[in-house]
């Protein structure tokens, strides 16, 4: 449904995004996961139209949308610190987009009430944003975006401003809301747990490159790159000598003579017995990677 074709972005001399290709399905919860500065927020802003790509196309149902300005794209965004307009009440914040579209007063009233009920914030309609807690602000921000009936909801680190306990709670709420609406969510986060818990699929980004796109399970169990493996969960690195390979299971002898076995990640034509190899170990599993 939403397709990114070879999206690139460079600022003067620096490259921020390199040839991003991605296809996201209807009703999917997709997370862009990566450390800060990897380009994930830039990519989200390019999808929203708040920034323009220096190359590539964005297609929605096969139609190009990348030439449309932000206000004409059927996407809405939940901002990192919510960006609720401080001079408007909760109700006015939510009605903002509808007013700009020139809806009748009654229609606006009805829709605002409906979406407030959806996020369970009905009684906060006349409150000012600065009287709300973090979790409440987040719900209002989601409601303000949803009320415009976007085709895709974009979320920029939606939970990062909340404390730990609240975050877990809102994770569940967000996921439940997405499943109830059957809407496509694209969520940017640097929090692995959050991405693993929420998403149908995860795209791991590093230095402007999309390293791997797969389900949380696959990302966790068979990371395609060392970066993906390390970013999802911290790993320790052991260096040793490859002594035996059977199928994709390798045996490595470490410096002190002890042997470990693990899945190998090196193309079979490059495997030589006796080569130096690095083993990455984390709590749940061991796997091998050719040493550089």
């Amino acid at each position: 449904m939403l397709e990114l074709l070879n999206i690139g972005k460079s600022f003067s001399s620096q490259t921020a995004l390199k040839g991003i290709n991605l296809s996201i399905g209807e009703g999917e919860f997709f997370s862009l996961l990566g450390p800060s500065g990897c380009g994930k927020t830039t990519l989200l802003r390019i999808i929203a139209g708040l920034e323009s790509a220096t190359g590539g196309q964005i297609l929605l149902d096969g139609q190009r949308v990348d030439q449309l300005p932000a206000q004409k794209r059927p996407f809405n965004m939940v901002f990192q610190r919510y960006a609720l307009f401080p001079h408007m009440s909760v109700g006015e914040n939510i009605a903002y987009g509808l007013r700009l579209r020139g809806l009748s007063k009654d229609a606006i009233e009805a829709k605002v009430a409906e979406v407030l009920a959806l996020v369970d914030m009905g009684e906060f309609r006349d409150r000012k944003p600065d009287t709300l807690s973090g979790g409440q602000s987040q719900r209002v921000a989601v409601a303000r975006a949803l009320v415009n009936e976007p085709r895709v909801l974009l979320l920029d680190e939606p939970l990062s401003a909340l404390d730990h306990k609240m975050r877990e709670h809102m994770q569940k709420e967000l996921r439940a809301l997405q499943q109830k609406l059957g809407l496509t969510f694209i969520c940017v986060t640097h929090d692995q747990e959050e991405a693993l818990a929420l998403s149908d699929r995860i795209g791991i980004m590093s230095r402007g490159v999309l390293e791997q796109v797969s389900s949380p399970r696959e990302i966790y169990e068979s990371p395609e790159t060392i970066f993906a493996a390390q970013f999802v969960e911290s790993t320790s690195m052991l260096r040793g000598e490859l002594v035996e390979v059977s199928e994709d299971l390798a045996t490595i002898r470490l410096g002190d003579g002890s042997l470990i076995k693990g899945k190998i990640n090196v193309p079979s034509d490059q495997i030589r017995l006796g080569m130096s190899i690095e083993a990455y170990v984390r709590k749940a599993m061991v796997f091998g990677e050719r040493a550089k």
């Binding site: 708040l50 932000a70 206000q71 996407f75 809405n76 610190r81 001079h87 903002y96 700009l100």
Partner: protein, 281 residues
Amino acid sequence: MTSNAERRRPAAPRTATVVLWLTLLLLHTPIVVMIVGALIEKKPTAWSWTLRWFAEVILDQALMDALVNSLKVGFAASVFSTLIGTAAVVGLYRSAGMWKWAVEGLSVVSLIFPEIVFALSLLSLFFVLKFELGLLTVVIAHVSFSISYVMMTVGARLATLDRSYEDAARDLGASEWQSYRTVVLPLLLPSILGGFILSFLLSFDDFLITYFVNGVGKDTLPVKLYTAMKLGVSPKLNALSSLMFVMTLLALIFFFRSSAFRVFFESGRRTHGENTKKENS
């Protein structure tokens, strides 16, 4: 507050504190004496409190005419300078190039040039253009020096404004103009009000520039006061000065209370966004 500001600061020597107090004393004593002088009257036997001098000021038609002139000029000048200054700040916002360079440069020039150069150059302009001197020329002059102050006050607020408000407006369907009108301007409103009050104050208090470019018989209060005090001091002038002082003070209190003041003097020390400011106010 940064942690640095909260850290213990070893006290300055006693001498420094004494100098501070002495200076404050020297700064404020004459004003206090002046106000007291406006409130007392010498009776044959002793001094007594009176409001007589204030009544004399209010009943003086020439002074009241000057007051009306001052208010007219102040109002017109601050409306124009607030409009022009605010528009300029919004226009400068994240723009670049020749325009930005020229407008910012000229606003700094108007801030640092000695008043007298400002005054006589405007007088020369009006003379060369054969512009008749009157209240209009005073308004033009006051707008010219107030724009920069409005730009400073509003600009300081805009610099700390979270950019995501504007992004959110665009994302929700606002055009560039709509996002300015419905989001950016309302958020700037306190600082725009601050700029308005500041330029009114500057206009109301200005003497030198007005003295150069005002028309015959079109005196503002400070010019009237100047001409009168050339002849010497009197209890009536004390009352006039005290009244003007109190008016300025009231406007100042408004200015200080508006959030603009904080931004105006603390912009150098604070660079972060919205959250901390909200907690402080």
